[in-house]
Symmetry: C2
Subunit: 126 residues, 2 copies
């Protein structure tokens, strides 16, 4: 049953946090590390887990890899991600992550507006 595969993805805090962040839009791996404050291996492995099960997709941009939510989600996936968003709205951890994400994206904004990302050593995911 596909539904079970979806729930299997949702029964880990790290993955829930990743999905919550991704709900805001595409993000690169290095940003995940900063936002979640978790080691690279952990982030990378959980993203791989989500990718194998079709919840997220990835695209390489030079050195960086950008992740985003599935572009063609099944109905079940869509419904459950919406449900997760509903629950995340009132949760400390999720809200803190989004706050951090905004900070990081803000400090990237002037980079994107000015010099290209390469020159400044900043990635552009998000």
């Amino acid at each position: 049953m596909e539904l079970v595969r979806i729930y299997e993805c949702l029964c880990d805090v790290t993955r829930l946090r990743l999905l919550n962040v991704l709900a805001q839009g595409p993000v690169c791996v290095c940003h995940f590390q900063e936002v979640l404050g978790e080691p690279q291996v952990k982030i990378s492995k959980h993203l791989a887990y989500l990718r194998e099960r079709g919840l997220v997709e990835s695209e390489r941009q030079g050195n960086w890899v950008i992740y985003e939510l599935a572009t063609k989600p099944s109905r079940e996936l869509k419904v459950n991600l919406a449900c997760l968003q509903d629950c995340a709205r009132e949760n400390r951890v999720f809200k803190r992550d989004l706050a951090r994400l905004k900070q990081i994206e803000a400090s990237c904004a002037w980079v994107r507006a000015g010099e290209p990302a390469k020159a400044s050593g900043q990635c552009r995911g998000g």
Copy 2:
């Protein structure tokens, strides 16, 4: 995070089927066995799993034990059970289970209407 505990309950087919059946109302263990067509141990253990995590409650009635959904569910639990119901509506397995449940309950109805359950050797859960 409580949300994870909920999702852990949802990432097993048997438990999803149990919850789907319970959404119709209280049910006793022996009915679960008939509806799901699974061995007693399996049913009992998954129900215990759900009970430990507060998704269901149980009550003994003579030889039989009746299970029902949590009477005071958290907001997160309520939302997710509703979401599950949404998904279950279009799923073969879930629909088949409910059909079997109706059959069983129908064959119990005349029992409940007439002789007491004890006399006929039928349980009354559901």
